[in-house]
Amino acid sequence: MAELDTSSGGGKKGGKVRTKKQATKVDLTAMVDLAFLLITFFMLTTSLSKPAAMEIAKPDKDAKDENRLELRESQTMTILLGKDDKIAWYMGEAGKSAPTIEGFGDIRSSLLSNKKKVKESTGRDIVIIVKPTDASTYKNFVDIMDEIAITKTNISAPAVDDDPKHILDSERDFMKSKGIF
């Protein structure tokens, strides 16, 4: 295809001076290699450049009370996000048990063990309430949501309560005393 017909047409004989035939064939292998490399690159980047999105659902701000779900204290775990990438969590009602302070490295095992404990003692699934305080960063919030998703702790979406007025006094006092608020 890429070759040109270099043979002389008629096959005339005679004392003509023969010019040396030059090969017109070009080796395309390297070019094909390069083209496929670029194809691969473009194919991969088009699908990979899309950002990943984490779905968050929050309850309606002025929802009517009839849709509210009462949470049993035996099955709730409240996670407070504090300063310096620290987490304080407690089970059940606020103030009754001292919260545990942890870093992001240990929260996964706590989530898993609490999930198991709640399932064994009550037979119900654990419900998690995440309360990001003003001292926490956005990264902390994404990380904790991710940890909950990884451990599959919540079947439904975890409850996010980011209203600063909803942080109880006992919670605030505890976090202040530990220096993470």
Partner: protein, 205 residues
């Protein structure tokens, strides 16, 4: 005994057809790939393990970082329609040329009063001008982000007939209250489901 002569075949294969095909594909992928727009606001998104990808159209991305809020409406036609609606409600008329410039704009963070001036500039001037102060969202009276979102949702509904996806792209170090402000703007217009844009991360951790 006479040896059977094996006919020598050429070992070189004609690559021309293969080359044609590969370049055709290459051209296709280059043309369909959307060029990454440079972000005016440098944001390092936190990473997560989620695999869900944001859809191609009907998306509004609110970027939060360095105390500023930027907005990016995906899709040129939605952007165009949104600008017209915003112009109408704020009493600013945008010319055809300005609308066109706006439709190719990446994320922007300019109060609507300065938008006309901003659109008249070219790339490097925009960077320098200091007009990108972020979209105002503080006061309840002059909450431009709220209106941008509202108009974008309307425009999106008219064009695609699907609901708009609101997404937040926040810098990892942003203090949580800044994010809460944006979430409040979402919830004030009953967007209770939204996405957080994260960079993907392999496996666990």
């Amino acid at each position: 005994m006479a040896k059977a002569k094996v006919k020598r075949t050429s070992t070189s294969i004609d690559m021309t057809a293969m080359c044609d095909v590969s370049f055709l594909l290459l051209t296709f992928f280059i043309l369909t790939a959307t060029a990454r727009q440079p972000d005016p606001l440098e944001i390092a998104t936190p990473s997560s393990t989620v695999q869900y990808k944001l859809p191609d159209k009907g998306v509004v991305i609110v970027s939060v970082g360095k105390g500023k809020v930027f907005l990016d409406i995906v899709g040129q036609d939605v952007k165009r329609a949104t600008l017209q609606k915003m112009g109408a409600s704020y009493g600013v008329t945008f010319t055809e040329e300005e609308t066109k410039r706006f439709s190719v704009l990446p994320a922007f963070g300019v109060p609507i009063g300065n938008l006309k001036q901003f659109l008249a500039m070219d790339g490097p001037q925009r960077e320098k001008s200091g007009l990108q102060t972020g979209i105002p969202l503080d006061s309840t009276k002059n909450n431009e982000l709220f209106n941008w979102l509202k108009e974008a949702r309307l425009a999106n509904g008219e064009i695609y007939g699907i609901d708009l996806n609101a997404a937040i792209k926040g810098d990892g170090k942003t203090e949580y209250p800044a994010i809460r402000k944006v979430v409040d703007v979402f919830q004030n217009q009953k967007i209770n489901k939204f996405s957080l844009i994260t960079s993907s991360e392999g496996g666990g951790e």
